[in-house]
């Protein structure tokens, strides 16, 4: 790349991780608030718990990475303190973002704490008390966390979309693309972790057993959701191109870098579209259809089982890479 990149891997990884954490937290909160009851109760609780534990971690790691890259950790506090009232009245998207991150980290951590099995961990009266308190706090925390997580996912796109001088970023479709990708990667992370957990046939975790019919049914619905998200993402990518194509200016020019012959074309079509979207869609779609049409058990080899979510996570990272780098190697046309 001949061009000097001002935002590089730390930013790319940060955008990816922030989206992933926000997506996982949103999925967890939604399951807590509107999740199924009855025989699926335990399964839903497990998904909610995984999402809650995954949620804050990537965001904290990603933010740490960014702050480390700035080189002066405590200077980053200037985002909040340098000119409080001025910034409150004239916030930049990065200000919004830093407040979101702060609130996200606090609330997501509190929310995750409500999922810790205090009773088995501490036992005795203290365990009981904390358990009861967790039960009471979980739903209100989820009510706060879901909008916060979605705001976080949207902000990662608005951060880029807010600058007119980067035509590839400055599109009204980017927030949708990043939000769908965030939820899809968050869900994939949850699915991946629980596939690790239930690797062995006959595995039992708490009240969830792999051999339960409820396990397969939930798995089936989760995977269907994932495939739907992939389709949604493909549609949004289509909209992204259409917007650029219909715009007779720099956006049209900038998007050429993603189209065949452009500098980022291979990374985009192979990394994002083929590996990150089409491959998992086909693999999972195949098993879904086999169950839906032929009535087979929803059961598949472990390697394929974990490779699909890994491919989606990889695709999410590549999407951020392509957008962040592609935006910087293109610019306004004319002078």
């Amino acid at each position: 790349m001949e061009q000097h990149l001002m935002w590089n891997w730390p930013m790319i990884v940060y955008l990816f991780l922030a989206g992933l954490g926000a997506g996982a937290l949103a999925v967890s909160g939604i399951v807590v608030l509107w999740g199924p009851a009855g025989e699926f109760r335990h399964r839903a609780a497990l998904i909610a718990r995984l999402g809650a534990f995954i949620g804050p971690l990537p965001v904290i790691i990603g933010t740490g990475l960014l702050i480390y890259e700035l080189g002066r950790p405590f200077r980053a506090l200037n985002l909040f303190t340098s000119n409080f009232w001025f910034l409150a009245l004239n916030p930049s998207p990065m200000n919004w973002g830093s407040w979101f991150i702060l609130l996200f980290c606090v609330f997501a951590t509190v929310y995750a704490l409500t999922f810790i099995p205090w009773r088995t961990l501490l036992g005795g009266e203290r365990g009981e008390r904390l358990e009861a308190r967790s039960e009471r706090w979980r739903a209100p925390m989820a009510t706060i966390c879901v909008p916060l997580a979605i705001a976080m996912a949207i902000y990662t796109a608005i951060l880029l979309a807010a600058v007119p001088a980067r035509p590839l970023w400055h599109t009204p479709v980017l927030w949708l693309l990043f939000t769908v990708s965030a939820i899809s990667t968050g869900l994939s992370a949850i699915i991946l972790v629980q596939r690790f957990m239930f690797r062995k046939p006959g595995a039992v975790r708490g009240a969830v057993r792999r051999e339960d019919p409820a396990f397969r049914v939930t798995e089936y619905y989760l995977v269907s959701m994932k495939v739907l998200l992939i389709i949604a993402e493909l549609v949004v990518i289509g909209l992204f191109f259409m917007f650029a194509h219909m715009t007779i200016n720099s956006a049209n020019f900038a998007v050429q870098t993603l189209l065949p012959g452009g500098e980022m074309a291979t990374t985009f079509w192979v990394g994002v579209i083929l590996v990150g979207l089409l491959m998992p869609a086909f693999i999972e779609g195949f098993y879904l259809l086999r169950t839906a049409v032929l009535g087979h058990e929803f059961e598949w080899p472990y390697v394929i089982n974990v490779s699909a979510p890994i491919a989606i996570l990889f695709g999410g990272l590549m999407l951020r890479y392509v957008i962040v780098v592609g935006g910087q190697i293109t610019g306004p046309i004319g002078i």
């Binding site: 002066r72 340098s82 000119n83 001025f86 001088a165 020019f253 910087q328 610019g331 002078i335």
Partner: protein, 259 residues
């Protein structure tokens, strides 16, 4: 830097608002004179707040010989590290032999009246100086996030590899606040660069802007630049016509292409 970290923007902003209010009252008092001044304002200046000092530059490209003396003067004056540039002169080559031509486009921060860099800065480190309208970076506040560098439509900003803060042309505030002209203006061999207060009807730059067909670059971004050009050629490699030969050499250390 005259404004250091101990004078927060909120106060600057406040003082600016107050001084503008006072200026507005004063203008109302001498409405006749002010109206006359407004009537002779050049079109390119329309819509600006005319009652304040706004330093700017006019570059007469007919007089520019592309010698890069300004580039060198800037490098020395501001102690700009290797590998990055605050000011540079682009070469634009066009046409085919024997009907070929080369023109020069000196580039520097436009000290815009509606600067995108200021809008996106999350710390308030980048701000407009109320006393002369120049856009500067407070190195005591900047965190080096480079959001401003993406927001600038002119690709003026970069990460200073020594300080690790955002950096750009500051119109030599250390010189102009002492009544001198910026170093590039001082050194210009063809006297192509004119520096001054574009809002002062008696200044040379104001008169030249009024009398000449001036233009600014990337006007559609709405940044209202304060660097004006006479004889600007807006040809770009991206906008060349079919069969046309155009080559732009930016001579900029950190980006050989215009972005």
């Amino acid at each position: 830097m005259s404004d250091s970290s101990d004078s927060p923007v909120s106060r600057r902003k406040f003082l600016k608002t107050v001084s503008q209010g006072a200026a507005a009252v004063a203008t109302a008092g001498v409405a006749g004179g002010a109206m006359h001044a407004a009537a002779t304002k050049p079109a390119a200046d329309a819509g600006k707040k005319n009652n304040k000092v706004q330093y700017g530059m006019l570059i007469d490209l007919r007089r520019c010989i592309g010698c890069q003396a300004c580039t060198v003067a800037c490098k020395a004056e501001a102690d700009v590290p290797m590998g990055v540039s605050r000011s540079w002169v682009e070469y634009v080559e066009k046409g085919r032999y024997p009907n070929a031509g080369r023109s020069f486009l000196p580039r520097l921060c436009n000290h815009c009246s509606e600067p995108h860099c200021v809008r996106v800065c999350p710390t308030g480190a980048t701000y407009e100086r109320p006393q002369d309208g120049l856009i500067v970076i407070d190195q005591g506040v900047c965190i080096g996030c480079l959001y401003c560098a993406h927001a600038c439509p002119y690709d003026m900003r970069f990460l200073n590899p020594v300080t690790r803060f955002a950096d750009k042309c500051d119109m030599c505030i250390h010189r102009v606040s002492k009544g001198l002209v910026p170093s590039c203006v001082n050194t210009c061999q063809g006297r192509a660069r004119i520096f001054g207060d574009v809002n002062d009807p008696n200044s040379e730059i104001h008169k030249l802007i009024a009398r000449n067909p001036v233009s600014v670059i990337r006007e559609t971004y709405g940044t209202q630049p304060n660097v004006y050009y006479i004889g600007l050629d807006t040809t770009d490699e991206n906008t060349k016509k079919p069969g046309q030969y155009v080559r732009v050499t930016t001579n900029k250390a950190n980006s050989p292409k215009r972005t």
